[in-house]
């Protein structure tokens, strides 16, 4: 059985990351933007694991766990912010949350 080539994993990672960026830039719902961020983080995780497997080093795994921890924390805080925003403004459109301007 032949192994899946390393480049496929990296290509998948890049595609996922690009999808995350596109979602982040072009979607208006805060929830979707938030999910796009998670997607980008996981794309990065995938490349970490790939390289870790390729070079037979454990540091890639370690970084992946760190990223997961941070992502979990971020999800908790982020969702709390989203809830508060929705409570105060009754909207989830990201373009309406611009009270920093002026």
């Amino acid at each position: 059985m032949t192994e899946v080539p390393i480049s496929w994993f990296l290509a998948l990672s890049a595609i996922l990351f690009a999808l995350g960026v596109a979602g982040f830039l072009f979607r208006r719902s805060i929830i979707t933007v938030f999910m796009s961020i998670e997607l980008m983080l996981n794309a990065v995780n995938l490349s970490f694991v790939t390289f870790s497997y390729q070079y037979k080093q454990v540091s890639g795994h370690l970084f992946t766990f760190f990223v997961m921890v941070v992502a979990a924390a971020e999800a908790a805080v982020g969702l709390a912010i989203i809830l508060t925003v929705f409570k105060n403004r009754a909207t989830l459109n990201i373009d309406d949350v611009d009270s920093m301007k002026n």
Binding site: V21, F24, L25, F26, V33, D95, D98, K101, N102
Partner: protein, 619 residues
Amino acid sequence: MQLWLIPILPFAGFVINGLFGRRFSKGLVNVFGIGSVVLAFAWVLKTIAGLGDLNSAYTEHYFTWIQSGAFTINCDFSVDRLTEVMLLVVTGIGSLIHIYSIGYMAHEHGPNHGGYYRFFAYLNLFMFFMLVLVLAANYLVLFVGWEGVGLCSYLLIGFYFTKKFATDAGNKAFIVNRIGDFGFSLAMFYIVKAFGTLDFSQVFSRAAGIPEGTLTLIGLLLMVGAAGKSAQIPLYVWLPDAMAGPTPVSALIHAATMVTAGVYMTARSWPIYTHAPMAMEVIAVIGIATAFFAATIGLAQNDIKKVFAYSTVSQLGYMFVGVGVGAFSTGIYHLVTHAFFKALLFLGSGAVIHALSGEQDLRNMGGLRSKIPWTFWTMACAWVAISGVPFTAGFYSKDAILLAAYRHAPWMYWLGTVTAGITAFYVSRAMFMTFFGKYRGHEHHIHESPPVMMLPLTILGLLSLGGGFLFEVPKFLSSVFPPVEEFEDLTLMLTSVGFGLAGIGLAILMYVAKPAMAESLAANIKGLYTLVYNKYFVDEVYDATVVKPLVGGSRLVLWRGIDVGVIDRLANGIGYGARDIGGVLRLFQSGNIRSYAAWVVFGSVLLIVALGLAAGGGR
């Protein structure tokens, strides 16, 4: 010998009166203000008695002031016979004038008698700096005193600072003196360059080995400083205006002590000058020219203090003649006798002004002889002394200078003799207009001044009469200065005395015998009279040639051009630039999260591309 005590005593008086004088009664201000100076005088006497013969200088080292490599400037005081003479003049006359000031300034009011303690504090500060100047053992310490007395002169000329003319006169004195001090500073730089030291003893012992050109330059630059401080052509213009200060100040600072600092400094620097004959010639010519020029202006002045101010300028000219022709001790001799009789003339005129409640115009005086006889008789002593009547103080010193001048260049003697005649004339004129004839003023309560003012007048009167043969300054200083061959000429002496007596005689004729004559003479030579009356328009000429272009140029070039055009524009430009850049950057701060994100992506892409290119280029 604790030389430092001499200047520190007046300084303590200054500090105490300056800080706490506001709360003191006048009596307590007197105790500190006058006590400190009298104590300094006593300490001078004790020091001189303790030092004995003093054929070489006695120096005290206190601390090293500046050290840079091999170059050292010490804070040293030194006393030799020349210093002794100056110390006695400064503290002696200073004490008398301080005592006189008790009476003269008694009417000084203001909140908490503010003027009174301020006056004595300044006067004490002046004494401190003057004594530092005299005691200094190198040029830099001398310069400290030199600048300090200039400061006090400024403060005291502008003493009545609510009056515009007084503050203007103070500024004028200070600014004109800056020109002279600039010359002095340059001279010090050259001395450091040529000698590597500023110490008097070292500079003077090495002077013979320095090229004449350098010494001439140093001498001339020192003379610029002396001309500023001692009111010589072309920098004399501040001294007549300085009469805006209280009269004791005119007597102490602008007649007896500070203005003679230039003479003292040039005489002190004699080893430099003896090797630079050209510089000495310049000093002598400036001196004789100033003596004559100022004397002629004195002829037509109507303010009693202005007459004596021009007389002071003229007499200082004599001193410079003495120094310039190489007879250094005669210059100092005249300095001493002049201090007696000119201080007396000023204090006497102060007593007259005091008696007339502030009147200074000679045309509003007259006939005061019977009303304030004691003032008249004391002033008469100074009158005969400055006129060179035989055996008075002025006779000896003026005669010595004129004889020395004759040996140097006869034309100087003749000009000096004519000046002596003019001097006798205008002082007599002032005396006659004040004390003789009929009273022309309106003050009814004319009163003799209190004893505290009369005592200094009397002492100075005796000194003006007897100071000449009591203190044989040239003989005393013979060990300090290079020897001058004895020169006696009865004819020349009688001639100069004759000119002096003729001046008095002419004044009697014109102002006592036929009072109308003076006015008809003035009317006959109207052009010349106007010229002299307006002081040859020197102030106006200076105003047009120096002050106006300087002020105009500063305004146009320095203010509008450099200050506004370059410096302000640079500073404002930096501010405007930051604001404009900020204005552009502000547009990025839109508040729109997705535009931020787009910029982040854009930046990351740019970074990656740049890194890729850099890595590619390195390969």
